[in-house]
Amino acid sequence: MSQLSAPLDLFLALTGRCNLACKHCNASSSRNCRQELSLKSWLSIVDEAVALKIFNFTISGGEPFLRKGLFTLLDKIENTHIHFSINSNASLIDEQAAGKLKQYKKLRHVMVGLDGSSGKTHDLLRGKGAFARGLSGIKNLIASLGPGRVLIFCVVSKFNILDLENILQLAKELKLTSVQFEPLLWEGNARLHRRELELNHRQSQYVYQKIQQLRKKYGKMVGGNYFSMWQHFKDMGSVDLREFEKSGISACLSACSAANKLVIRPDGWVTPCDRLWDYKIENIRNKSLKEIWLNAPKLREFRARFGRHIDEVAECRDCKYRFICKGGCPAAPYYETGSLIGRDVDSCYRIFKGEEIYAPA
């Protein structure tokens, strides 16, 4: 299938406002946000998404439960074919809000950010009292939606590497079925707090090993990019490099889910992915979704990355793994160097294997 006529998924960041100020927030959400799209604009976007036959929305922010008119928008989505999920810190989800969510058949799940098993770790990243309020929201969601529709998203950093199993244990006690462990990306607030947050190589290795142990012990409830990257590294380790070298052609930078989706920020800027928050393509106030998807030059530039070869990446030109490497996430080099064509150190097998010692900038 060649270029799609429209995205499959839309990520709607309804507001830049947040009641927390997390050190690792990729969107740099804060208590104030200017020039947000109006509710009327968001409702029009839903209309266009229906016309384009888009299938899924991710409702996010900021903290979406701070967005005035949230339930008006969800009511509208519920009356279309489109399914949706919500990303939230859960701290504003009281019994009433959770009860309202129960009425939505199109709601797949609510993904809650939980970075610690107690206030001792979680609050270090998210602020005092965030854990207690978040846990209360999680319990309200479970009571309303059931544990299978409440997912946990945990960003791994120096603050919580020794707390990963406790987080899983807490999730298990709550009868939750999915905890995703994710690496940090150096965008938004995380850039400002990099020194405090970033894992060194030894700590990264520890996390990979730990996630494997936890997967064995807790089964499929353990997921996320730390697990899938480890699987990828394991696959890379099992191939006969000589077979691939024979072709003499390095692998292509592989397409990711950003090839099938768009993000609309609170200020109307459209980006290819929530991990590329600052890669602004066009503003929805000026162009339709369809026009942006089909014709925006910057989106073409983004997609062009996926046809490029690994040996076009300076750091990877002489790497012996260039015939089998997929190049990782475009957001990583973008935030390191400003270019989409660059190395994602988190996906680098050479670094994973310890054949190169990577020192963070």
Partner: protein, 93 residues
């Protein structure tokens, strides 16, 4: 006595992409990506064609396809539709 017939669910959203298509069920959120032949069969089902008629049309419109291949592709596709609940049941008295 009642008999049953499997028919495409009315509410399925079909999004054509070149010769391929996406089928999306708004009830379950299930999404299927189907190729040219899959879309052809789906379109025939929507037009209420029966299995024999669909196989005949596949043979007419797809050069080089044998009867056995058309039959097995048809069965595999119907099985996929059933597994993903894209077919509803129509009861006959």
């Amino acid at each position: 006595m009642q008999s049953q017939e499997l028919i495409p669910k009315q509410e399925i959203v079909v999004r054509k992409e070149g010769e391929d298509a996406f089928l999306f069920d708004p009830d379950t959120g299930n999404l299927l990506c189907v190729n040219r032949l899959g879309y052809f069969i789906w379109d025939c089902l929507i037009k209420k064609c029966k299995k024999e008629g669909i196989i005949r049309r596949i043979l007419e419109e797809h050069e080089g396809v044998t009867s056995e291949k058309a039959n097995s592709d048809y069965e595999a596709f119907i099985s996929n539709l059933k597994d993903n609940s894209f077919l509803g049941v129509k009861r006959h008295r």
